[in-house]
């Protein structure tokens, strides 16, 4: 399907910083870091900082600056700031807040415009469908390769296994498309923060960066403050999947290769030593210390590719048959552990 061309206003460029048109507009202005020292420049830098600040406070900024040029230019400037700060967590949080902001704006847009925006910016393959499948009415189909990477979660109604997929086309509503945009914007923002920062920047700009950095450090410290012993033993903070694997390993059950990998990488990442982990596997029916040591050291990044591995994320644990739980707000076993240490409690239920 060809999307109908839609005339974009300057306000649109301000709302949707990932648009090709916005990027072209920014390029045409030809702003450099050196330009940021004058009065308008300061305004841009302040707004860029404000954007990041609202992300730190988990607020979604829905207002637009009166001067739309300032609004538009504040986005690329905020990305440069994040490249200076180089903090993955902050970048992710910023990406999330920008994503939510875009979803907020899209909610008030005409369908034609939403389609134009996604098809032109992300090259998604979308076509009209308007059919009923059971009780569900769909407006469009999107090619699964363009759909799957942007679903908010790999379960329930978002999972393609629950969609009437035909020839690779997934039926969706316009609301679902708007929600996919949120994830796409997140990924877009993160991808634009990967490169190292420019070698130099004006003093005023650097000061602003340091100011934000300090605020972020404070916010992080506050987040981590209650990291006192809310649990008596580290095992109490384990997610249910790892607790089950640990119990099975200690009981001398014959764990699959993936299960061993998951448990060993988890334990390494929460600070257990190679020797401690080998002791845990000692009960395994086919235990051989030399092989166990080689493999655990490999996972620890002491051998071979020198990559330190992390355990599978929850979706992969589930696909590998190692997870039969649903943990609230948790996407990775290590996240569960950290949340437990911080809050002392994570809700989860065992699925039938």
């Amino acid at each position: 399907m060809e999307s109908k061309p839609v005339l974009l206003s300057k306000e649109d460029l301000a709302k949707y910083p990932f648009l090709r048109e916005t990027q072209e507009y920014v390029r045409s202005i030809g702003l450099t870091l050196e330009d940021l020292s004058d009065e308008v420049g300061c305004e841009i830098v302040d707004l860029a900082a404000e954007r990041i600040r609202s992300a730190i406070g988990r607020r979604v900024r829905i207002e637009l600056a009166r001067d739309l040029d300032v609004e538009i230019l504040s986005f690329p400037v905020s990305l440069v700031m994040l490249r200076f700060i180089r903090d993955k967590l902050l970048t992710r949080r910023y990406a999330t807040s920008e994503g939510k902001r875009v979803t907020y704006f899209l909610r008030n847009e005409e369908e034609e415009k939403i389609l134009y925006i996604v098809m032109r910016s992300f090259n998604w393959r979308i076509r009209r469908y308007s059919e009923r499948v059971g009780p569900f009415v769909y407006d469009y189909q999107i090619y699964f390769v363009d759909y799957v990477p942007y679903v908010p979660e790999y379960r329930g109604m978002w999972k393609i296994v629950n969609k009437p997929v035909k020839d690779g086309w997934v039926p969706v509503t316009i609301h679902e498309i708007s929600r996919l945009v949120e994830e796409a914007v997140k990924k877009y923002v993160e991808s634009r923060c990967l490169s190292p920062p420019p070698s130099s920047a004006p003093e005023l700009f650097v000061e602003k960066v340091n100011e934000i950095k300090r605020e972020w450090e404070e916010a992080k410290a506050k987040m981590e403050l209650p990291r006192v012993a809310k649990v008596d033993r580290p095992e109490d903070a384990f997610p249910p999947c790892m607790r089950a694997l640990l119990e099975e390993a200690l009981a001398g059950k014959n764990l699959s290769h993936s299960a061993r990998f998951a448990l060993a990488s988890f334990l390494l990442n929460i600070g257990k030593t190679v020797d401690e982990i080998i002791e845990i596997f000692r009960a395994a029916p086919d235990f051989r210390e030399d092989i166990a040591r080689y493999q655990v050291e490999h996972i620890a990044g002491l051998r071979g590719s020198k990559t330190k591995y992390t355990p599978f994320k929850c979706e992969n644990m589930r696909s590998l048959g190692l997870c039969r739980w649903k943990c609230r707000g948790v996407k990775h076993p290590l996240q569960f552990y950290r949340l437990m240490l911080r809050k002392g409690r994570v809700e989860y239920e065992e699925l039938a």
Partner: protein, 414 residues
């Protein structure tokens, strides 16, 4: 009877050399050859030689003829520098989408005729496939596994299911995919297309979950009519799992016997269930069917088990895996890793086609062969001299049967 390990090894080496010398011209090099990594093991070697790469098909074939590998693998991934030693240096460019269907993961009726196990802990032994020793519970069992045409036809049915998913649900075209018999206990399905190359692990996992039927939820296939009643909302014409579930439900509701039904339905509701069945018989409309949430979850589980494909999901999710090289011989069986087109799949005799070592008769002394192996049946507890086709001798030797070749090797391989 005493095996002669060295003589048996020599037999295998000669057989493999004979094959590669005659047939290497017919072995197709994988697509984008210069971007693939190869790995080999050798009859007298230890471990795998990895990070091998070839500039062109000629160099590739020459290697096979000169080195005569016992096992040959290539990467489903494409690399800029396939012979570099670390993943970072290799520079991953993309990967084909691979599915592995292996009878090890499927319950087949024939395993009792050819598989056996021994518990090293308590000394118990028996036939068939088990996961733990029935006497002492030990899970570290020594297994002896063989393959026969029954296993392969069960695995083939899984491949046919998978192909349906790939063509109809995912819209791949037939010429983007091909199937290989792995030369041992299963099949590989390769999808080579621009659309799959750059897929990340998340996308591959979702495809894997889809074909396995992992993650089906009741609310996608029913509507809640009242707090406890869920009305079926799928019909057989619908695409995807919706149609599969509808077709299975129709079959199940109309044909299932009481025992099967009471696995799902609360026995107290059986009378109500019969009424529902009658209404369904009259109208053929599934929307007269209602379940409780627990029932529909249970049914989805059963449908996923029956209609989902039994693949090894790790292979599909992995984007840096070595996979058996089509056209090479499997080192444990002497059977060819045989490429089959989708059209051939249903009718091709896979064992005949992959028995490329041929039927030349070889005299052997044999003790206790499995009762059913490849396309052959042996009498129980057989011990004695027999004339067997060469391909079968190679398989028996490769997979560790008690066997001794009586003919002079020079007369077998001339």
């Amino acid at each position: 009877m005493k095996n002669s390990p060295d003589r048996n090894l020599q037999f295998m080496m000669k057989a493999f050399r004979w094959y590669y010398q005659r047939y290497s011209e017919r072995i197709d090099a994988p697509s984008s050859l210069e971007n693939r990594e190869f790995g080999f093991t050798f009859f007298r070697g230890k471990g795998m030689i990895r990070h091998v790469s070839f500039r062109d098909a000629e160099e590739f074939r020459k290697y096979l003829v000169e080195k005569v590998p016992q096992h040959a693998f290539y990467s489903s991934a494409y690399y800029r520098f396939p012979s570099a030693e670390t993943m970072d240096e290799k520079e991953w460019l993309g990967a084909d989408l691979i599915f592995d269907i292996d009878v090890d993961h499927i319950d087949t009726p024939c395993k009792v005729y050819h598989d056996s196990w021994l518990c090293p802990k308590c000394g118990a032994s028996g036939r068939g496939a088990i996961s733990a020793c029935p006497h002492c519970g030990n899970e570290n069992i020594k297994r002896k596994t063989w393959v026969c045409n029954t296993c392969l036809s069960v695995a083939r049915d899984e491949v046919i299911k998978l192909i349906d998913f790939l063509l109809n649900d995912f819209g791949f075209s037939q010429d983007e995919l091909y199937v290989t018999f792995s030369g041992h206990r299963g099949f590989h399905v390769h999808v080579e297309s621009e659309a799959v190359r750059s897929m990340d692990q998340d996308l591959r996992r979702e495809i894997s979950d889809y074909v396995r039927g992992v993650g089906l939820v009741p609310e996608a296939f029913t509507v809640q009519a009242s707090p406890r009643v869920f009305k079926v909302s799928v019909d057989p014409e619908m695409p995807g799992w919706h149609g599969r579930i509808a077709r299975y439900l129709l079959f199940w509701l109309l044909a299932a016997d009481e025992a099967e039904v009471s696995r799902v339905i609360n026995p107290r509701k059986l009378r109500y269930f019969d009424e529902m069945k009658k209404a369904l018989e009259k109208t053929g409309d599934l929307s007269v069917v209602t379940f409780s949430r627990r029932e529909i979850s249970k049914i989805l589980e059963i449908i996923a088990e029956k209609e989902g494909v039994k693949i090894d999901e790790r292979v599909t999710i992995d984007i840096k895996r070595l996979i058996r090289l089509p056209g090479s011989l499997h080192g444990k069986t002497g059977l060819q890793v045989y490429k089959i087109s989708v059209d051939e799949l249903e009718n091709k005799d896979v064992i005949r086609a992959s028995a490329v070592l041929g039927d030349r008769k070889v005299r052997v002394m044999l003790k206790n062969p499995p009762e059913k192996v490849l396309d052959r049946i042996f009498p129980p507890d057989f011990e004695g001299v027999m004339e067997l086709p060469l391909y079968l001798v190679a398989y028996l030797i490769g997979n560790g049967a008690e066997i001794k070749v009586l003919d002079a090797l020079s007369s077998v391989f001339y």
